[in-house]
Symmetry: D2
Subunit: 401 residues, 4 copies
């Protein structure tokens, strides 16, 4: 179904080639300040065309608030949002009614619906994520205003280029014992990155590194990677991949600060399970891990267990291999997880494949596409995290008698 | 909440220290053959005490079918199942009302519910998985009988001991082109492992390798690892960890064969997203990846895209980096994913931590525990996969007009 | 929440004074013919201003299909619909921020949301039913095309003016035995009313009786009552009530023909329970009864039980006191129920009441309003019935293995 | 499906002829006092065999609490309850595999599930209501303890014998203006019935009137009707119907006192809509009306509108034609509604009908049955009301930011 969440219930709709995309946000608490700008601001972070490395598809993505707000406050009724599709060029995609593109959903949409539509797997378009970002923008605003929750995600790797180890989470540093509640804190040029990092800073930083002559075209580059040196290497790799008419994947890390303890349910609706559901529902994802993740399987319990210490905020885990939850319920420590994104499926290189009727052919995509969607992914990851956390918070409001 | 699924809706209940655990299975199609034995058989695979390496807690885990069956057929009404707790020793756990165990849910249950119960995070007990396995046993039976779907999971690694590369999935082998629909096929001593592997074979194989003198006690070892050589190394590692009063994690791979194309929904309820939700809801999990997973982020799109070929079964992807889905919807190819399990939190080693009131102390667990739960995890992984697939299949029944 | 249904899941949004109202229709089967006109046609039946007796608020209620359709077929993806509000006159309602109107939701919206909005209980506006009618139009189209289901509702009474007994359901007529599957069949001027009655016929008939000089203004009257004589009496009553600046209620009957047997679930989701939920969720309703209803409580079991007879369609109840279901599940006989509508709350007469601050005052409404909404209610009743039946049908698709 | 509610989510299971019936109660707040006795007490009120007029089927209906409680408090985890079936006599029902009983679900269960089970429409048995009463007992306890909510239902009519008008709700009495918040208050022998009435009082009163020689057998009669004179007339009617081997229906009224304002949602989940769903899901119901109900359709708006007055509790409606809600949301006034119950389908009289194969025959039921279930219905009505209200209350906890 096209809905997500139990109390904060988000329903999205829209294909890439219909009149628009949008969402309905149900279950929002009434009376909290929310404006169209709060939403537009995040949509603009998601928008393609922010740098020369991403898709040149130019869409303003101007959101219209159709309902649920009055005088700058939520009414408690559903907030309906609409973003019109303004740059539809169906002829770019016409082949896909005859040839299922490798790595795309054209094939499976036909298997599922028995319909071979002009827009292929229309809901599988990246434009579907507009509804997610809009829904997340609203959740994020509430979480920040009411609970002080901060959510930030960044690019940790592109292909084999990864943030150097000093920027990576280990869960074992000396500093961590000093900075309880944070899962990591590293100094770099005087900044405590994981603690202070914000989406805006990452956006700005990306713009700053845009001066680097990566493409010779004076283009801006927005990698959303906290380390400028690595960001430039990543940008160069993406340029190289683009020149080769190919594509490349990467990994996004997300950190949630100040989430209250007690969120998430035992059993099926553990907080990490809801996050996993949310993240793997993002197009092009291949993996999710939280806290120690796959590497944690190699640890001994005596290393992995996070002992408790008493802090001014009360009892807290001293380290954070857990990633911010125990038994699926938040501890109050930072929640951290990683999401893997595959190389995007639309490439310029010719591909040998077959048509729906089985005829062998060579496919050359002409449509607009990014060589790497990873720098645009953090805002989507943050948005889905915000949706999960607001929903979990509202559920938790029902748990105390 | 304690329910999972939309049409095949499973609700579980029970703590480790109450009268029992159980589940209610709603939405089952009527009139298909199902017996208590179908369920008991899977529960026995989950049961602790199968080898000298796992917890000595002895519980028969005899399931009682309370409703929903008659004359060996499902009635279409809810199937309620009950497994009584027979080996409750609350005194083993009494400390946890004063001291939250590191890595356990004692702390977060108090944060969530404001209750410091004798059983700590009672729903976080491994016994909670009984309901999952029972629910999965029923789903598995249906999927196999009606659709020929086979689900098998095995241990791929324990700590740093991993199946050698010849047993691992690559997605690129020559054989794969010949064996479309399978994601991998390797010969070992004349067996095509990933193609033929069944849970029973893994169970038997585990027993066979039990003759290996791993502990000097003549004990049986059930690793559920397809390669006997690796299985023995794994068993030795677990023995070593056990001797050190510590614990160790590992990775389980699951493969689903013969799943029909078209399962899963666009957007939020993509099949991999539902699987991620299901898997990360299993206690002690830290990560989920499907198809190419985190490694896939390093590939180029031209490598990662699975071209289509025409087969006797119709169009199919020639390789399977996708892991069996495109756009979140099954292709008909094998569905494959991996789940990371952390080292279990209960260890015999003393741990420095603090009590709820902040008093520093050294905790030494006396309760029963496994040094490594990974060999018991495959049946749980298979069960959750079966629940997801049956639910997705039933949803898909509503999608064609 | 603002959603209804389990598989055919409808979410509505919009207040009377925001940009518009609309809905998202999720879970629709793919590939069935649907056009904007199918929806607009039903919306036009709901629209106010169809006769001189109803509200003069003039709104075109032109629907825009934002997604989910292509080339005249459903894609299987969500259908999003938008109807803009074009005739907003907030000044008509400005008093309600200070004075909660008797019978209106102004008071309870403040109690619920803590917000005293300009539009009062904005979601309680009759415009909210636009989303219901649109959602019902789509369901109705599917049910008719695929299953031959026909749904028709009409006005049975206005105030004390009621259809004469020959037009009322008895469940015991001789003819019924001859016409199994119908719950009643009466001849009137050569027509078999309940059997042949359609919404269009009722609409037309209403227009025809419009020539009757009920108001002396030559205005048209659309009562949607199958008996022209009674329709005129009803219209005269409404005229009288209107002249008195008062309002009046009435009762709508609905009949569903050709619904397949087997729809509805045991226990909580019985078909009549879902219908009751749907009907009592319509604004201004006060009661729901199906089959023999409240009168049936006075019957003996030997009278009330509907014996079975063998027909060409197979076994069927010979009479239909049950109203088309047994144990909550449809029998294949006609489903019939009645819905009570209160007199609308907005009246021209002065009302003694108090402001939110407790000040006594006399309230005189100046806003636009109907003296009687009942003639506009049948299409809403039909629409909600269609939503319930399509959802029940899709659920039933999952019940056979 | 077999679940009800959104946050307080109740799942029931069990047929009349399997091992037992039961329910799982999910979403309960943690830490409130609850004992097995709280549940057993209500189950005993539901139990057949309380008087000579009801079914002689003797079942202790002893409930076992399987999970979710510890030391007399809820844990916040699911409460699972089990009542074993102890008086199964399948031979009483054996005919129904060949002959669908008129008025019963045998026919529709076959239509739905394709299974002709020994127990016919097993989930349609009155024993299914055990789960409802257990779930309601828990909700009722919470509502009473935490919010002071009182729920009481009674028999208003049996067949044509009805409470005299002085006991009936009018909504217009002088006293009502004096007793704001109550929807009616009548003095009878010094008691203010609707204000003071409790389930226990009704139970006791029923016992007291048991001395009346209604059957000549010295049997007790429990009519749960607040007026002793009417109760005796009702009991005599039931005796007469019983002697005639027939059955009779009736009407139950329910009143909820002290429900907080703000419960219920706009649109689909209006509080009366949820109540309608809940009530019409009870076996043998045919109608639901709240507040002025069907009679209200004959009123003018100027009569029906409840003006507001300022009271010590704040603003309240002066009268209560609305029945306790406006726009689907509770006002704080008494919530009142009526539920119609048909004559039970199992009768001793011979019935002409046909077998599944179409053979004409005369059916004479031999199974155990009540001539009138209405006196046992109030506790079920109260229970469903409690489930709805607790769920609405918990939802409302999420609505304020």
């Amino acid at each position: 179904m096209s809905s997500f969440g139990r109390v904060y219930r988000v329903t999205t709709w829209g294909e890439s080639h219909c009149a628009g995309v949008g969402c309905v946000l149900d279950g929002l608490p009434a009376g909290f300040p929310l404006s169209r700008d709060d939403i537009q601001q995040q949509l603009s972070r998601r928008r393609p065309g922010q740098s020369s490395l991403t898709t040149p598809r130019q869409e303003a993505d101007e959101v219209e608030v159709l309902s649920g707000l009055q005088d700058g406050l939520t009414l408690g009724t559903p907030v309906a949002l609409l973003v019109r599709n303004t740059d539809i060029r169906p002829q770019d995609y016409k082949d896909m009614t005859e040839v299922p593109r490798p790595g795309h959903a054209d094939f499976t949409y036909v298997a599922k619906y028995g319909i071979n539509s002009k827009s292929g797997g229309g809901r599988a378009s990246a434009r579907e994520t507009i509804g997610r970002v809009a829904a997340g923008a609203v959740a994020r605003k509430y979480l920040k205003d009411k609970l002080g929750v901060e959510i930030v995600a960044w690019v940790e790797s592109i292909g084999h280029i990864s943030l150097s180890s000093e920027f990576q989470w280990t869960g074992l540093s000396e500093e961590m014992v000093d900075t309880l509640g944070s899962f990591a804190m590293y100094s770099h040029e005087g900044r405590n990155y994981y603690r202070d990092l914000t989406g805006n800073w990452l956006d700005d930083q990306g713009q700053r590194t845009g001066a680097v002559p990566t493409s010779g075209e004076g283009s801006t580059i927005l990698m959303r990677c906290p380390d400028p040196t690595t960001a430039i290497q990543m940008a160069e790799l993406v340029q190289e991949v683009k020149a080769a008419k190919d594509s490349i994947g990467g990994i996004v890390r997300c950190v949630v600060r100040n989430a209250p303890a007690g969120l998430g349910e035992p059993c099926f609706d553990k907080l990490p399970a809801l996050l996993a559901h949310a993240m793997i529902s993002i197009p092009a994802t291949k993996g999710f891990e939280f806290g120690s993740g796959f590497e944690g399987t190699k640890m001994r319990g005596s290393q992995h267990n996070d002992p408790f210490v008493m802090t001014e905020k009360g009892l807290q885990p001293a380290t954070n291999h857990a990633g911010g939850t125990l038994g699926g319920i938040s501890t109050g420590a930072q929640i951290t997880f990683r999401v893997a994104f595959k190389p995007v499926s639309t490439i310029g290189l010719p591909q040998e494949t077959v048509s729906f009727s089985g005829e062998k052919l060579v496919l050359e995509a002409k449509g607009r596409h990014d060589p790497c969607v990873v720098p645009r992914a953090p805002v989507i990851v943050e948005s889905m995290a915000a949706m999960v956390l607001l929903d979990a918070h509202l559920m938790q409001c029902t748990r105390h008698s």
